[in-house]
Symmetry: C2
Subunit: 357 residues, 2 copies
């Protein structure tokens, strides 16, 4: 049994590799050769007044690589008032750290193969899903990219976009100029050959862009109907960044998974401040078209066509994450860690038993 760190995962898994292995997995999933374990968020009161405890679980079995993954997040969540508005904050209460873990099992022997934090892989797999969609949906000649957002996820989106198309210019907008400046500086250092511009207006950022990617934690629409120009591809990392009006203006919409529009909530009565905002989203509203959209796996295998003409307006909605992404990327990372001798090895006997429960 091998314990890896986020640094190990970052070192072992590149974005192009992550995209490749996820595409292989989506292909199998489309063909009924992978099992999705739905995401469930279990919510109960925490000790601090007003805080709640969120235990999130998702998973998946991928027989081709003989793995089952389980990814959990164990978070203390508060709703402090920031700039006059309540905000959802994950508190790093575990000695100043957060707790998200991936457990990898062998579906050939049953053994626990490895444990690693979810952070590095989380960003890679979110980016990879949007990158795969971009590859199939954006124009071949797309060269200008607009990114709305400058946080942790925006970096993954940039890496994925660059793996899918040879963008020549990247424009970045986000409301807070300090965050944006830091993001642009880091992106320039990482991608020295590309023109990366810090833009202080959303409108200017998206003007004439071939691809517009939202990568925010916003609870309200980020991509505007006015931005729907012929040929553009839109991409978002959560359903809240678009709405039915935006989607109705697109020629072709693909969602990440249709098996579940959003996580299921399992809530203890009396859990404070719990806000199931996904109950009230467009995907649940009367007249929504969620059920009509094909998913990423169908796009990958071609059972749903990609872009049909250069003037099509396309959109990918990364509506919910799936544990199968961790199964795919995790299988690859563990294989590479074994070869590289990375991580801490612990005795397998600690994680197995001689009794038959």
């Amino acid at each position: 049994m091998r314990v890896l760190s986020n640094e190990d995962v970052d070192q072992l898994l590149t974005m192009p590799e992550c995209i490749e292995v996820l595409e292989e997995m989506y292909r199998d999933y489309a063909n009924g050769q992978a099992l999705l374990v739905p995401r469930i968020d279990n919510l109960s009161p925490s000790t601090e007044a007003g805080a709640y405890y969120a235990f999130k679980q998702m998973g998946g079995a991928w027989p081709r690589r003989r793995v089952q993954a389980l990814r959990i997040n164990s978070d203390i969540i508060t709703h402090p008032i920031i700039a006059g508005k309540p905000r959802r904050v994950k508190e790093p209460k575990a000695n100043g750290r957060w707790v998200g873990l991936v457990f990898m099992f062998s579906s050939e022997t049953g053994a626990l193969l490895g444990i690693f934090p979810d952070g590095a892989m989380q960003r890679l797999r979110v980016g990879a899903a949007n990158g795969i969609a971009l590859k199939y949906l954006a124009r071949e000649d797309a060269r200008t990219l607009a990114i709305i957002g400058s946080g942790w996820q925006a970096g993954g989106q940039l890496m994925a976009a660059l793996a899918a198309r040879p963008f020549e210019q990247v424009r970045v907008y986000s409301p807070r100029s300090e965050n944006r400046a830091a993001f642009v500086a880091e992106a320039k250092a990482r991608h020295p050959d590309i023109e990366i511009r810090n833009i202080d207006s959303a409108q200017e950022c998206v003007e004439g862009a071939d691809v517009i990617m939202a990568a925010t934690s916003s609870m309200v629409r980020v991509l505007e109907p006015a931005w729907l120009k012929p040929g553009v591809h839109l991409s978002c990392i959560k359903s809240q960044e678009v709405d039915q009006t935006v989607l109705d203006g697109c020629d072709h919409v693909v969602v990440h998974v249709t098996a579940q529009p959003k996580q299921y909530d399992n809530v203890m009565p009396g859990t404070p401040n719990m806000n199931s905002d996904h109950e009230s989203g467009w995907w649940n509203a009367p007249g929504n078209r969620f059920a009509e959209y094909p998913d990423l796996a169908q796009l990958v295998v071609g059972s749903s066509p990609g872009r049909k003409s250069p003037s099509d307006i396309t959109c990918f909605v990364n509506n919910v994450g799936v544990g199968l992404q961790f199964a795919a990327a995790g299988a690859l990372v563990l294989d590479k860690a074994r070869v590289a001798g990375l991580g801490h090895e612990l005795p397998d006997d600690w994680f197995s038993e001689t009794v038959h429960p």
Copy 2:
């Protein structure tokens, strides 16, 4: 983060303690102060022809003790023909061992507190649930106990029964005489003050017994309608050991949990030999009365009455396990392990992170 073994758990947790902490948890659960995470069995093909892979997950949050538990089983299952009949066998493929694990998290900090194999606790918590039911449902003056079954679970049932009533005579019947003899010999050694008899007929075993406990892996009825004599208490560890006919002959039936009659199956198409026998059980059959029965938690808090008269026939059906049992017993075991300095301590930083996924 602490890794414990089955030996540690066995050493740290006695049956009376397990019963006590589970009763405290059921009380909270009855009052809406605990969150049940449903059991889901995720089934997909394994590598061996005819085998399948079962990844079982269940959990629960218990705010009083500030814990969230997740229990998983990672099993390779085959259906060999034994004595002319197909049998469901969990293959110990992990270097000759099985894989079942309990993960304990803090709902106060989010941290992973401990990992231990599920075997020792599995038996204690199944026994404890039936022991608690026996305490509330059996006659106060019950002194004769019949046990049908002589496997691993039967030992837990015996321990639990003895913790609930001062039985003077215990009779054991199971079809295979060798297994039975071994079980009786071990039980005598463990409980030298009690008369423990090896009986080679089910009829003789139950004749005049005050309590009849089934503890088998049978897929068909074990407790017979003819055994329903005034004053008797029946107990079983799985729903298949009884049927609606038996239950209709009882004055008072209690099931373990009403929140889910059985596990949910999440099955990959093409999974071989998968037999969802719980789809066809009495609890799903037309006219079944499952939904009418109170659960153990209601019995514990008195919102469902226990035995009303010495001549009542009572029955407890342990229909499905819940992860909350592991939350309760696990919290106690971890507290005791900390004090005793038992187990392997690993750095907490291996199981937490500095990025915010």
